[in-house]
Symmetry: D3
Subunit: 331 residues, 6 copies
């Protein structure tokens, strides 16, 4: 029985090796990435059954994305396949201080952006599933995608499935104003809200008129206002383009859960937030929010120490980091 | 003073190394290619001043294409730059018998496809230019591109510039019927027609109801019917996915020009036809059709012995092949 | 419902790039390969549900093999995981005439070689499965592996599942005499026998005292003697280290099925036989032996045109090759 | 109309990947670099017309250097081509604390070192040009090169062109004593002097008997003594082999221009000084010394975050760094 | 005449490039490494004649190890060659904070592990040799290896050769208790003892019941108790997965030798301890313990700035670091 | 005791991967090559003690060449080391029909070209040595090199050592006329002469006025005229840029030795002639000319199936090819 289903777009990821700029490179490393596949892959990696639903072109690049999902043990049997359409792409230039990592998207008119409500039998997909995870990138992609996600969220609640929603604001896709206007009506279908401080516009801007700087206080107010079962706030501070400090906290109706912070030599920061979400939702599935916060932070820290958005750390490694700390050679 | 101007789309080219399939590769080699840039680059490589006009997004991939053109000495000062648009892409899987080389295009909605008549001041661009080269891929891309090319061809004649047109039929873009219907009206603006046998639908299908198998006879009929100053027929026969035999012939009003054929170990067949065109047009610019046919064949044979569509052989190498033959080690 | 289950060892495959010799290389390309995983992956690739059972160490290399299987859509939920054991490895040096491709095995004491009868609940694994595929490499690995395979074959028949057996003789593992002595008693549990001519010792040596050179006649005698439902004979002739000609034929109780032969530029010959088996078994699952022979040959020809043992061609490509022939560029 | 012309030697640059030492590497990354080409490329990158004059062998490596210049939009139509001569080379081993980056030159007897006065028609080359940039490496290469540079500097003044001179002392080429003796007489033909502190022998040693540690004071004295229109002092401090802090200041007759400093994760420090010069001269061409200092520092900081000496940052990136600061991910 | 002979196992080293995890990589960099070969190579690199004795399979991977030894100028004429056996392997995943570098061994049943006393004519091998170096990994590999090493140590003393012993405790091979029990009886054959603080269990645990934290005091007690001629204590502190601080100290009967510490950007920490030993033993061979401590520290710091376990710094570089300090670019 | 000493220049070899042209490559594969080192390495590889004498700069590239020689087991203890000089380089572009492989030399003023008579104590170097091998490239490099080689050849005869001389004519270095004039006086110091047909100017042109096409007849006349103990004629025919057919024959005073020919898929033809020489001289050292011819041909055929000039086949492989033929997969 599937524990978690995620829904969203995955793109082909292309990045020059060795800190080369795109204009000077003669080759690109190829992988795949997308927030919701990253989360599904992460939860699978940490020991639970995950499925991923999306729409892909029936060409080698589309198949490659489904292959990658399966490589992580993620079920893609509900994938929609589209003939003659295209897959989204993004190009990543790694950064070095003072040049930030840079992402260039080429995702318009992807097979996913053409998804329509009614294409997926959500009742079937979500039968017996415990968690349904979506996020705030998807509704920005097209009107039909927005409606499809809304349809899925409603179906999830109908199926008795908790809905997790990662705000994941992308300035390249829409303004804060547009994002707020579009997403506020979705909040009633959300059980677990995930947001970032301070890399994203403060949740207070996106969701409400709340005020204040303290992550826990903000989270509490948001949870109270919308009646979320849980709110996760991920906090990442860049120390340079290649170093960061991270932690997260969660609140539930009546409790706050915090954890140590990690200093990270960020080989690749992409997917770090998704890894934190995957760890947190793993704890949630296991009925232990504190475990979720710890798994999320450690999984995120380790995920950023290797290339690509996808999460390769094992649960053993994550637990070793939580319980023993890191960074001595093992042999 | 510029000798030749070409107009068309150039895309980013991405191909897995070492005969890997796209689904299995972890990296892609990156280059750029497009029939008309290939021709401009080839003519520049063979010693004449070439310029290339197109429309590119003002992002790293767009700049990369302009950089590549300049690397070959091709003038891109008339390039149109578009903000927030995308560049076309194509993915190449190298073949090995019995698997053919395979090209996957992702070129829809490129900055070039959005070009509009009036965007380019052709009178300015073509002042004093002797040859204007376009081809049959461009008009298939969008209605506005079709109109833009037509506008340019008319302007070329007005500027006293000969127009060269490579039929270059692509089944992925349109049917033979559509291709014929669209291109026939363009033929009155053409001075030099270029086509391939037998890889492309016979020119008789595309342009008329003429009959017959003999390339020279077909070329002669076409030339007569449309009043072309010259017709070049490139002839390539695949011996396997990695070997081919090639030659070409040209006819003018009153003469036929033939050449030896070359057997080629095709490291990369893409751009081979464009190299032949570049060689031929070089001869045309130098007033010697026979030289053009010879340069075209030798340049094409050599161009296919190295990766990418772009033509790296030098004129010295081409002439050494023509006059001394190939394939002994030099040291 | 799973259509086919395969059982055997998969190893990590390491090969120098660019025809480098092992002694001179500074890097190795990494993949995974094993006859029975190759077959499962091939059948999955051609459209049927496949599962693979083996025993792997619970370390990154063991996980990598399971990941690869899943990447191909092969179910590995019945995999046995072993702590503190090793995975088998093989090193491949690509050949060029007159130097043959060379494989160096380092597979002793692998987790798979330590498998014991009783470790796998075959009744559970094979419930509802239509085909169980094994081969002649496995019984050569260790006594306990031999017994485990025998146990599985008996269980397969008990479960109403046809058993397919690829003789796959490896001189590095045992003598012909040992191979015959060990395998003859297994033949009563076999429904589909697969063998190669002439790269393997003639099936007449391995299985009996039969005589004759004609593949069809030999196959018919073997089928008659052992009462096999079908016999597939794969025939490969090296034209050089980098070219081969291949075909296969099958016989059933009352018919012989032949096919055209393919000339192949063999980028990588490893896994070619397994691809043929996968194609054949696909036809068998679809109830059409003639389709199986054609799929097998075309799938094998295409599989050898890209690196690694694993089979990347799609069913569409295979059918295009069968129905349209190969080797013209598509664009 | 060309804004700036630079003159000097460009060499082929060869460096092992991945921090490998030369003795252990099996491959080298290939690029091109030379202080004066780097400056021309940088000014072109920042938006002005640049030309580069040098002498190269007419072989693939010589052409490669001219191609690279053109790739950056630098005009090389005045390049001298030499048959049968060699191109200079340098080998770069990247450093890691406590091992410094190391450059091994193999530049003796290059085509450039054989340049002779009179070979270049400087009046023609510099007609209408506003800036002519040279430096202190060139005169150390050979007597004929020294004379050629002097000839060019004099011609520049005659053409009404300001002359910029980067002291760029290289201990591998000559002693401080030799450098002073050779260069002092050139100073009368210089308008803009560029020097580094403290990586180069203090300008006081090279040019005069002046004293003092304060960069601004030293610069002022130098400017006063020689009557320079402007002096740029670049200041770089290594924090480790892979981190540095940098800034620069400029003085003119009556003013001092300073800027913030940048902390840099130096993927490749080579060309960092040249990038600063390019930025500064861009400001100079635009009539704003303060803009020049800021462009120089930001361009230099960004240039060092990617491999090779050549400057890939765009003006947009540079201005974003100046006005918005660096290092947050953009997507 | 050989100055030093070392004895132990060398394995093939395989590591993914670019911080990739093993599960995600498509290639592995290949090298060789083993504590005792590393030491022999280091001493050869620093100017003395070194020989290395081991047992290798007569296949390409075995030959590759002997080739590597020779590449460093290490004499391998006493190597034992074994037919049909395997070479040990280890897989290295580079670390980034908080993920430590990780080594996975696959060394069981290697040709070296099957070495037997009597296989090597130690009297012949060690004739005229001044130092014999072994370590604490070897005796953990198998009983016959333990006996072989003991036999060699006794033969060394008989040949008038000093014996150096690097404790080099590996938790993957045995417990501290087992290590102590096995090694204590070997101590009577040891002249120079080498150990690490604090990465290894304190020497007090391994060798005795001594107490105290101060390295010098511990070393002195150990030396006194066992009558060692010299004790070297290497001290390494990880600042992150990619930075470390290191130094070492030595004591002899009546003196303590210390040195500055080095901060290192550790491109590859493996082999760093062995490089320190090589430097120290070089000083020992030259009759100057203080020189040995300095060479060891500088050699170790430099060795860790390039990939692989093997030591590529030259004596010139080492001395430049000792006498001039590091980290300014040289050109 | 050393069996063979060779003397000549070794250069750093740089070649673009994947059939890229030099102008388009971003990296170069690095190796080393030189006819006389290749021969020494080959003889060592086939089982005899070989030493190599040359002059190299004391920098990383010079050391790399000595390291490579040692890697093959070649003794370089008599190497001359030069401070501040350069090593020769050559750039290799692999060919594909009709483009031949192309070698660009950059060897002028190398440390070797500055060698002087008297620098090497040949009496010491050649004491007890059986064969001294040199060739016709060396005397073309400089006058002092010519004299040094002559000095060495005379010393060899004085030391009772046979002298082998490979004509190895290089058109890039001198004319046939110059070559003849310079080398004829050396012939009196030669015992074994090696030449190629037809890639080199016929030996009749180089050495005499003899006539005729038949290799055996020519060889016999040459041997008779100069009194050589043996003459080896290597014969290579290019079938395309990537295929060749080769064989060789030898004559002695009273006998002719021939062998089968090999058809080769030439991954890299460089060093193929040297491998043949190495095989032949191995037979000569073993007192069996027929064995020498066979070893030479098979070793040469196998050597050309992997990259670089250096010879990696083993004696086992060579003998397997001679006695069993090639090209079936072994596993």
């Amino acid at each position: 029985m599937t524990d978690i289903v995620t829904f969203g777009e995955t793109m082909i990821r292309l990045s020059p090796p060795d800190h080369l700029r795109l204009e000077q490179t003669a080759s690109l490393n190829l992988s795949a990435g997308g927030a919701e596949l990253n989360v599904a892959a992460g939860v699978a990696r940490l020991g639970h059954k995950a499925a991923y639903v999306s729409r892909l072109p029936s060409n080698p690049l589309g198949r490659l994305i489904a292959n990658k999902a399966r490589e992580f043990g993620v079920d893609v049997s509900h994938m929609l396949w589209a003939d003659g359409e295209r897959v989204g792409l993004y190009f990543v230039e790694y950064g070095a201080e003072p040049r930030p990592i840079r992402v260039y998207y080429d995702r318009k008119d992807s097979a996913f952006a053409h998804i329509q409500p009614g294409m997926i039998d959500w009742a079937e997909v979500l039968r017996g599933v415990r968690l349904f995870h979506v996020g705030g990138i998807t509704p920005a992609l097209s009107a039909s995608v927005f409606e499809s996600q809304k349809e899925a969220m409603i179906a999830a609640h109908r199926a008795g499935c908790d809905v997790s929603y990662d705000v994941n604001y992308r300035a390249a896709l829409w303004t804060v104003e547009e994002a707020r206007k579009a997403q506020l009506p979705l909040m009633e279908h959300v059980d677990i809200l995930i947001t970032s401080l301070p890399d994203q516009p403060n949740i207070t801007e996106l969701l409400s008129g709340l005020e204040g700087d303290d992550p826990a206080a903000v989270a509490q107010q948001v949870a109270d206002k919308f009646g979320f079962k849980a709110v996760l706030v991920t906090m990442r501070r860049s120390l340079s383009a290649q170093r960061a400090s991270l932690t997260s906290l969660a609140i539930t109706k009546n409790q706050i859960y915090t954890d140590r912070s990690y200093e990270v030599e960020t080989i690749d920061p992409l997917g770090g937030g998704d890894a934190c979400v995957a760890g947190f939702l793993t704890g949630y599935l296991e009925g232990d929010i504190q475990v979720g916060v710890r798994l999320g932070n450690a999984f995120s820290a380790l995920q950023q120490t290797a290339p690509t958005d996808l999460p390769w750390p094992t649960r053993d490694e994550v637990e070793a980091l939580i319980f023993e700390g890191g960074s001595s050679m093992r042999r």
